[in-house]
Symmetry: C2
Subunit: 370 residues, 2 copies
């Protein structure tokens, strides 16, 4: 089987590989056996279980591993204290020991939930990620962030726990609904916007191949994983540079919060798409980059079918004050100051701490009027 590979060179015996290619779900068993595991607990959601559960289980059993499937309901609601308890207890019922593996088969919700369970089961067991959405393949399966939501907010409970291996089977994206594909694409474009203008050019030329499953898809996933891995290795705990990955996310998270995480109205990647467009228009307004570049960003995202304006949120996003309050609840807030990721141009983003509320309010008011 031919595939691309990205190495994540973390220290302390935590380095791992990301393999990218079509058909990798059938390689889970061989890879798990190569890691010395005798048993594996497959954590997934009910939708993905129906599509790929049997194949992953068969692959593990062919390789001689004892295994079982723990399927949670699909959707963000499973990333809860109750979901966490049920996954942990499911893994314990399967008698997963310290040398065994947790296999996270699914999108970001499953990856975060299974990763957090693996981080804390018996104070840490190894886990293998099999991301089945574009978003999870380019973003949430790289970096070691795991966690669940609290009634007080998203991802407020969690741990850093690196996978031992990531198998990104790009053929699984063939079964992804179009809207989720587009949402994941916002994170793809983000990597160009952060610090790789050449990749953004390439995206403008090749995005259709990513959607249709051509070789561009594998290539894009590998480029994004390599970019994120580089950032994570240099700044694992987000004391500095890693914050750049939040380009578009300060606005995006606020929009998700204001729409009550109702995926019928807005999914994460859509919030990010609007957030990216806003971050560039806000940068242009502050005289940091040209309005032309901000326009180019919004145009490309719109071409790929993504929303780019506050008015694009079904049911509206509330007023500027509500957005400001929602941004202030972000867990990256320290002592109440707002930090944004802004840009001097496509591929020229930077961390901008201490942005004044008044500047943000005036910008958002104009956006809502426009």
């Amino acid at each position: 089987m031919s595939h691309l590979s990205v190495h994540v060179p973390l220290d302390g015996g935590r380095a791992y590989d990301i393999l990218i290619g079509r058909g990798l779900v059938d390689a889970v068993g061989a890879q798990a056996a190569a890691l010395g595991a005798k048993a594996a607990g497959i954590v997934t959601d009910e939708t993905v279980a129906g599509l790929y559960g049997a194949r992953v289980r068969a692959s593990l059993e062919r390789a001689g591993l004892r295994c079982g499937i723990i399927a949670v309901p699909p959707g963000e609601a499973s990333k809860s204290y109750a979901g966490y308890a049920s996954v942990c207890d499911g893994l314990l019922a399967l008698k997963i020991e310290r040398g065994d593996l947790v296999v996270a088969l699914g999108g970001g919700v499953v990856g975060d939930l299974a990763g957090f369970a693996a981080a804390t089961l018996r104070r840490g067991v190894r886990f293998l990620q099999v991301p089945t959405t574009l978003l999870a393949q380019v973003d949430s399966s790289v970096g070691g962030k795991t966690g669940i939501n609290s009634p007080h907010g998203k991802n407020l409970i969690g741990a850093f726990h690196q996978p031992r291996l990531v198998l990104a089977d790009t053929a699984t994206l063939d079964t992804l609904v179009e809207r989720e594909m587009r949402a994941g694409y916002a994170e793809v474009a983000k990597y160009g916007l952060i610090n790789d203008p050449g990749f953004f050019d390439w995206c403008e030329a090749h995005w259709r191949g990513i959607f249709s499953g051509g070789p561009e898809r594998d290539e894009a996933v590998a480029i994004c994983c390599r970019a994120k891995a580089g950032v994570v290795v240099r700044d694992e705990r987000e004391d500095g540079e890693r914050a750049l990955l939040n380009l578009g996310h300060t606005f995006g998270h606020a929009l998700e919060r204001l729409t009550q995480y109702d995926s019928a109205r807005l999914v994460h990647g859509e919030g990010v798409a609007i957030g990216l467009a806003l971050a560039f228009r806000f940068s242009a307004r502050l005289g940091l980059c040209s309005g032309q570049e901000a326009g180019r960003v919004a145009n490309h995202l719109a071409m790929a079918g993504l929303p780019t304006r506050l008015q694009d949120v079904p049911g509206g996003s509330g007023d500027a004050e509500a957005m400001l309050d929602a941004m202030a609840q972000d867990k990256k807030v320290r002592d109440g100051a707002l930090t944004f990721i802004l840009a001097r141009g496509i591929g020229q983003s930077f961390i901008a701490p201490g942005i004044g509320r008044d500047d943000v309010r005036a910008f958002l008011q104009d956006e809502l009027r426009g």
Copy 2:
């Protein structure tokens, strides 16, 4: 204020101090301020809250910190998924941010629960331990193990998370019930039995001073913390030597399991006391140490009011087969093999992997007949 001090020289910026002395609960605020925290969430149980909550809160407020108290019901039942969720949400409601502190005020249950919440809140906030039982002062507040129980067993969910500081106020032990004091003393004696025969001699001569609150109490706590800190620094994740700290615990944990963790019948330290006596008698039976030394261990524990025989468990401990099954559920089991900590004499313990079920069964059967 005069106090003893033990330094725990962990790497990666995780080194911390343990201060030991009378009256340290009033120093929490000054120490928290010195760590740069602006707010503190005090996690405690309802009993300890009534005894020391107001003093710790006043100390923090005097030092200019915003703070609040989260009190769980006393007892092991709070170390549950539900207890964990309520502590995390309580800390979030207090707006504890990454630079702030979680203060664990109480015994082992509170330390484990608050420590696990601190380890995972916002993927890790700092915590300060204020252990108020002898067991917590000499054992559970050193080493960074935090966690909760699952319906499948004790401490099966958790994380390694080191405190930033431990304040062991030995005057708080004046309010400890006698039975908990004795139970903690089993862990004190354990340190002598592991690798410090001179300390065991000293214990035989001075144990009454530990119970009555003389200077021997502070000295014993410091010696135990120093011993445990040394082991933890050399083997933080329990790949080797740290397992020695489980002397008496393989039997002890099995007894706790067989008595359904019903503290009316058996508390942890009582299980450990019986386990220590059994580990030495088992070692003598295997020809590793003399029966005289095994007798000396049991005599000293009995002198301090601790149980030393299976028959001492109110309601009985079940038969040998039940004990074996309970031991096989220990989370330290790998591939089903039983590992014991045995001894060639007082202060000469060692890790003995691969002990046969038949040898253990025959020993337990004789014990139950004796």
